[in-house]
Symmetry: C2
Subunit: 146 residues, 2 copies
Amino acid sequence: MSTTPAAQPPAPRHAGGMAIGALSRRTAVKVPTIRYYEEIGLLPTPPRGGNGRRLYGEAAVDRLGFIRRARDLGFGIDDIRALLDMSDRPGQPCADIDRIARQHRDAVRDKIRQLASLEAALTAMVDQCGHGAVADCQILEALGRD
Amino acid sequence: MSTTPAAQPPAPRHAGGMAIGALSRRTAVKVPTIRYYEEIGLLPTPPRGGNGRRLYGEAAVDRLGFIRRARDLGFGIDDIRALLDMSDRPGQPCADIDRIARQHRDAVRDKIRQLASLEAALTAMVDQCGHGAVADCQILEALGRD
DNA sequence: CCTACATCCTCCAGTGACTAGAGGATCAAG
DNA sequence: CTTGATCCTCTAGTCACTGGAGGATGTAGG
């Protein structure tokens, strides 16, 4: 759009942005995973250099870092997609964000409850093991009972 | 092997065994799942009736019930395969069985620990939500921070 | 200038433990 | 005889990646 085509500085060192490997190192997200996120639309398709390689800027570092932290907290891809969409509309009320976080927390709580009763059952099994022959194993016995 | 080919009773009601649907109802394992277990070698290939349909006996009910209970406790397929193999050798000591159960219990404990700290983080996020605009959302803020 | 070696590209296949559907054959009951 | 349930095989989809093949570049050292 500018009518001054010659005024650009001659491509400073970081102008084109970083390659996918550098982005990977900065965010601790593996290279194939970054390409996967692009494929499923979590990351925008980046510009390419003359060699066809992807070039990323700081915005990509922020967005990918956001995704990684949300994944670390166990959010699913669809949830993250929704969170990112909402963060692109800063004027909206944040009720939906709160809802997603609450739902996820509740799901985590449920999972903890399930696993706790599982752990109790497994501990009971292990404690009853007589360390004898397989024929007398209480663990197999417990699994074999209706 | 018998030299008395005519002495068999004329196929009593339960002689051929039950169909896959009946086995499914008895064990609460879905039909496609049973076929899947057969495919991956967890269940032996059953005999077929003249119509090509699978026929199961009580042994299949027991084995499949064992598998289902172990799956409910979160054991992976490979663990279950090992447990079944061991239960077929009743003379061996049951140390390996104990080891598998202990490993699994420890893995469950680890998972609980991870999820508990996750829940704490999510609860902190939810509690800090100001219920205002997306621009001020503490949840997004928390996810956006390095 | 040449040679390694790293990094990048695309495409395809595999993971775990199923689940779902197509398309067709057979069975049991009314 | 018709209807609806059940069975068969085969293929493909789920989730969130991960790994490899095979080939094209880029960068550093000699």
